[in-house]
């Protein structure tokens, strides 16, 4: 596809359930990022992948959050035992090269997660 895609666009779940959010980056982009955006706030960094490996997961709020990128393309953000405070828009972005500090990050449309 032409841009970053994310599925589902909306996810409603109950407290305590497990959810998976998927991100399909721009073809050929080696860097992939996950951000979380709460209402009225700017996006906050969660995790960064360079290829298949998580180069920086310092933004993950706790061990209920985990992300993978097994083949260096599609990534899945996994949230266990969801809590109401996890409700937010989860954004994925990708960028072209290893020079991540200078590259433009291209964002997907986001997944709006609502935990009831």
């Amino acid at each position: 596809g032409a841009g970053v895609s994310q599925t589902p666009s909306n996810k409603v779940t109950e407290k305590g359930k497990y959810v998976e959010l998927r991100c399909d980056p721009i073809s050929g982009h080696t860097a992939l990022y996950w951000y979380r955006q709460s209402l009225g706030q700017g996006p906050e960094f969660l995790i960064y992948f360079q290829g298949t490996g998580a180069a920086d997961d310092s933004g993950l709020p706790n061990d209920r959050f985990f992300a993978v990128r097994p083949e260096g393309s599609v990534s899945t953000l996994k949230i266990q035992r969801t809590e109401r405070g996890d409700s937010a828009v989860y954004l994925c972005a990708s960028s072209l090269s290893r020079l991540a500090s200078t590259d433009t990050q291209y964002f997907g449309p986001g997944t709006r997660l609502t935990v009831l």
């Binding site: 951000y35 209402l39 700017g42 996006p43 920086d56 954004l91 500090s101």
Partner: protein
């Protein structure tokens, strides 16, 4: 934690007027970027200015950067109703790859 702070939080203008948004940040940066977001969903990259640049233009957008004051401004000239959106500044630290965003400025352009 948020790195930048945009000012004002909300701005309402009429079509044809210019809109100016400001951003302040806290730490040394490699570059500063401005993004636009419609309806709380995906962000669209507008412009990137590097730490050794002072001003940059792209169409109706003009961005300035003052590293001594740790501040940047985004000017949208001759605004249109379609410019209505939230605008965020984001910084890359010298050692980081993650973008640090501010809380954004909500711009409303009325016909």
């Amino acid at each position: 934690s948020q790195q930048g702070e945009e000012d004002p939080q909300a701005l309402s203008i009429q079509e044809g007027e210019n809109a100016t948004m400001n951003c302040s940040y806290k730490t040394s940066i490699n570059n500063l970027q401005w993004y636009r977001q419609n309806s709380g969903r995906g962000l669209v990259h507008l412009i990137l200015i590097r730490s050794n640049e002072r001003e940059k233009h792209s169409g109706r957008l003009r961005v300035t950067l003052d590293t001594s004051k740790k501040s940047s401004s985004l000017l949208i000239t001759a605004s249109r109703a379609a410019d209505t959106a939230s605008y965020f500044c984001a910084t890359h630290s010298n050692s980081g790859y993650a973008l640090n965003f501010g809380k954004g400025t909500s711009l409303l352009v009325t016909p």
